[in-house]
């Protein structure tokens, strides 16, 4: 049991570290959001699985196990919604991918030029 807990905890630490490093290094908002997803999926899941194994077989405290499972499911359900809201907000605020590959911008220009002018004034 100790070995399994250690392995999952180490996996969680590695992915959380990857998310942190990515968040510090990436060049624009969208890439940083991708790295924060890395932290919030396998980083969280590694720790939660380790904790579930420890509470179920080590502490034998079922109330804690159930709470941990609910916490993990809650993270998996809510994280994409928060990411999507932040990405849409950042895009509306004028953030663009730094490479210039941007089909959404192209479609905005071809369909509604007036709205695009307003955006450029606001930005």
């Amino acid at each position: 049991m100790n070995i399994a807990v250690s392995i999952f905890l180490a996996a969680g630490l590695v992915f959380a570290l990857a998310g942190t490093v990515g968040l510090l290094r990436m060049p624009d908002v969208f890439c940083r959001l991708q790295s924060s997803t890395n932290l919030a999926t396998l980083g969280v899941l590694g720790v939660i699985v380790a904790a579930v194994i420890y509470t179920a077989f080590g502490l034998r405290d079922w109330a804690m196990t159930v709470k941990l499972i609910v916490l993990g499911l809650f993270y998996l359900i809510t994280n994409p919604i928060a990411s999507h809201a932040l990405a849409k907000g950042a895009y509306a605020r004028g953030a663009r991918p730094f490479t210039g590959i941007d089909h959404l911008q192209d479609d905005l220009i071809s369909e509604e030029p007036s709205e695009n002018e307003e955006e450029s004034h606001a930005g």
Binding site: V14, F15, A18, G19, V21, G22, R25, M26, P27, D28, F30, C31, L33, Q34, S35, T37, N38, T41, L42, W62, A63, V66, K67, V70, L76, N79, P80, I81, S83, H84, A87, K88, Y91, P97, F98, T99, G100, I101, D102, H103, L104, Q105, D107
Partner: protein, 181 residues
Amino acid sequence: MKKLSFPAFLFTFLLLLLFWMLLTGQIADIFRGGFSWQILAAGILVCGAAALFCGRFFAHEELRLLLQPKRLGALLVYCLAVFPWELIRFNVDMAVRAFSPGLPKKSGIVKIPTALTSEYALSMLANSITLTPGTLTVDIVTEDGKNYFYIHWIDVASDDPEEAAQAIKGRLEKWIGRIWS
């Protein structure tokens, strides 16, 4: 505003009550003998009020499709096998990308078509795509009855919408179509 149907209310209420029982630790208390009727009564009151307000947004008619065992099985396979595999694969890819020197050179927003139409299927696919690191749903639009995703991709392998769709959605769309089609 949509009218609240009784099955939607009941479904939301039972789900909320289940979470109430789990969070207050009452399920474990039933077996240990510390069960308290007062906590259950408070839970029924609170969950009833909450379900009265948000049941109409939470449960639609399409949810009945899950009563068919084939669709329920597909949902279980998707949640337990298909999606975790994709999640781990993309996570490792993204972690390598974060540690390797040099920044992503070809990230950008691409537009991909999807064959799905139902609301549950669309939101499930969008959330799955966002949850796999490396792809992030920015917007969903409907043009001429077809739905399109605008997706920020960390490594744009091809500009062609069909190839990009194949690379991003992979097996996910096929399984979601099997659940909700």
